[in-house]
């Protein structure tokens, strides 16, 4: 189950040759994640709230992605953006974030998605495109209800939404080093500092943690051990979206009963291939499979090894 509270309509103007082209796609983190899960051969139920004209356009577009779409109809309109890529790089023309989900919409979407999530072995709780569109506490409730019933919760969140979901615990967390620094969980992009933050996230409720780093190998904390995710370098065409591929790859492999190491290697391979082409959430199953074997998890722990004496241990007792 992919929980995508606020899918967006993405409109992109492109001009690969003489004539301009107009591309209409559904977008947003949950949609990109769902697309990648499907490309890895796993069925997706997508739970979303849609409304207004944009929502009407989004509905058939989402269905054509191949997801089993479950919709809550909103009173206010869905959001979207218009990008111009004719000059090569993306230029934003307009960004319409949409309205926050109303109390009623939240309740309805929660009930719908919880019902679907309880039937799924893995649930991805994707974030809203703007943090203020969906209250963070919803994620805490969601993770608690799914986790208590044997569901595995996979997230790529930051800020308050991450803090909330950790209170209930998650099976897998992907977060970028920029987000860790922005949230004050890490003071710098120093490996040691990121490692410390990862152990804290682990202690705080994330069973497995992957931290992506812009141009350095990602770090993975698996069963309390730190690994560096090493993979062949591919020339990146669009650096966005590699994180969604990691999250989706992990969810897809775990949903099929795979182990977490294979899941992370698959996610990394999916991410590497995704960035070699335009269009978020694409990547073909066979080419990903070919790359998984070349992704290695290298033990990377270099935590400080302290030395202590029995006297020192005794001295650490808090004064009574």
């Amino acid at each position: 189950m992919v929980f995508a509270p606020t899918p967006q309509l993405t409109v992109t103007v492109d001009q690969p040759n003489d004539h301009p082209e107009l591309h209409l796609h559904p977008g947003g983190q949950g949609v990109w994640q769902a697309r990648m899960v499907i490309s890895l051969g796993v069925d997706v139920v997508l739970c979303a709230a849609l409304g207004g004209e944009i929502g009407q356009v989004l509905e058939p577009l989402l269905v054509s992605e191949g997801v089993d779409l479950k919709v809550v109809v909103r009173d206010s309109g869905s959001g979207g953006y218009v990008h111009d890529r004719r000059e090569g790089s993306r230029q934003e023309i307009a960004d319409v974030p949409g309205q926050p989900l109303s109390r009623h919409e939240i309740d309805e979407l929660y009930n719908l998605a919880l019902g679907e999530g309880l039937r799924a072995s893995v649930s991805i709780l994707s974030g809203p495109n703007e943090p203020w569109l969906v209250p963070a506490d919803l994620y805490r409730r969601f993770a608690a209800d799914l986790g208590a019933n044997g569901g595995r919760v996979v997230v790529d969140l930051s800020g308050d939404h991450l803090g909330s979901v950790l209170e209930s615990g998650v099976f897998f967390l992907k977060v970028s080093h920029e987000e860790l620094i922005r949230d004050g969980r890490a003071r710098s992009d120093d490996t040691e500092e990121l490692t410390r933050a990862m152990y804290e996230l682990h202690a705080g409720g994330a069973e497995t943690v992957v931290v992506s780093r812009a141009d350095q190998p990602a770090l993975a904390l698996i069963d309390g051990e730190l690994f560096q995710v090493e993979m062949p370098r591919l020339e990146a065409a669009d650096p966005r979206g590699a994180g969604d591929s990691m999250t989706a790859g992990v969810a897809a492999v775990v949903a099929r009963g795979g182990d977490i190491r294979t899941a992370i290697r698959t996610g990394a391979a999916a991410g590497a291939l995704n960035v070699t082409r335009h269009g978020l959430g694409t990547g073909r199953l066979d080419s990903i499979t070919g790359l998984v074997d070349r992704v290695r998890l290298v033990p990377a722990d270099s935590r400080q090894q302290e030395r202590t004496t029995p006297d020192e241990l005794a001295g650490r007792v808090v004064e009574r």
């Binding site: 804290e200 069963d223 051990e225 998890l297 290298v298 270099s302 400080q304 090894q305 030395r307 202590t308």
Partner: protein, 275 residues
């Protein structure tokens, strides 16, 4: 008949040391099964603790890289607990040998009483199975040795796990396997190896138990996860001939030890004459 070996540890199923030991055992043609704590359990001695869900011990399949065909399990329990249930058929036919390690950090001297790595081996021996505890002295990396008083510890502590010489410890251990299988059942071989390439070892020697020695433990710092600590008595010049001294001098050390055994040299006569 192929020797069936249980590989376990106290650093956890994902630790690099257990991977190296399992790989080396498989290379020697042994029938290998791996079962280890899901997460670090250093300093748990032979504790019997486990977590159950719905009345069943939590056990996950945990395939190890480059070890296709070797059954491997992450278990929500202490190393001693895992060893005990393995001897009772929890992970297939009971093993005839238990190899515990390769531990991250030396387990030397009498302090091995507290070691989870050694605790698993003691549990095996107490239950009629031959066992060896295998540890890598991570503080001996490079020029830093136990004898240097930790002068170079900072440098050593920054060595990444991938660069440590787990394979050296695994190779030393498996070379000692014939001596283990011909030893009395209740004995445990405790093996410690400096963090060096195998070619740079000065040799493998029998060490005596240092009076305290060194054991690995973890301290949970609230909000900061776990801190690995090497627990040792300070200011002791390494006593010559001990396991600690051998490690400091660049030798792998092996000591034959025995867990709970009766002391017959204590005067307890005449008790049956009392009311």
């Amino acid at each position: 008949m192929t020797v069936r070996v249980l590989i376990t540890n106290d650093d956890g199923i994902a630790a690099p040391g257990i991977q190296a030991l399992a790989w080396a055992a498989q290379q020697r043609g042994l029938d290998v099964v791996v079962a280890a704590p899901m997460e670090e359990a250093s300093g748990t001695s032979a504790a019997m603790s486990a977590m159950e869900r719905d009345g069943r011990v939590v056990v996950n399949d945990h395939p190890l890289p480059d070890l296709a065909g070797v059954p491997a399990y992450g278990v929500a329990g202490s190393p001693g607990f895992i060893t005990l249930i393995a001897l009772h058929g929890a992970f297939g036919p009971p093993p005839s040998v238990v190899l515990s390690g390769v531990n991250r950090g030396a387990n030397a001297g009498r302090a091995v009483l507290h070691s989870g790595t050694v605790g698993a081996a003691f549990t095996a021996a107490t239950n009629g199975c031959r066992a060896m505890a295998v540890s890598l002295d991570v503080l001996s990396a490079g020029e830093a040795t136990a004898a240097s008083g930790g002068v170079a510890v900072d440098a050593a502590a920054r060595v990444r796990d991938a660069e440590r010489h787990w394979g050296t410890a695994a190779r030393v251990a498996l070379d000692l396997l014939p001596r283990l299988t011909s030893a009395p059942m209740e004995s445990v071989l405790n093996v410690n190896t400096p963090d060096l390439p195998h070619g740079q070892l000065r040799g493998v020697r029998r060490g005596t138990l240092a009076s305290f020695g060194q054991v690995q433990m973890t301290v949970a710092e609230s909000g900061h996860g776990f801190v690995r600590t090497s627990l040792e008595e300070p200011g002791q010049a390494a006593q010559p001939g001990t396991d600690v001294a051998l490690l400091a001098a660049g030798y792998a050390s092996v000591t034959a030890i025995r867990a709970v055994s009766e002391a017959t040299d204590i005067d307890l006569t005449g008790l049956d004459e009392q009311p």
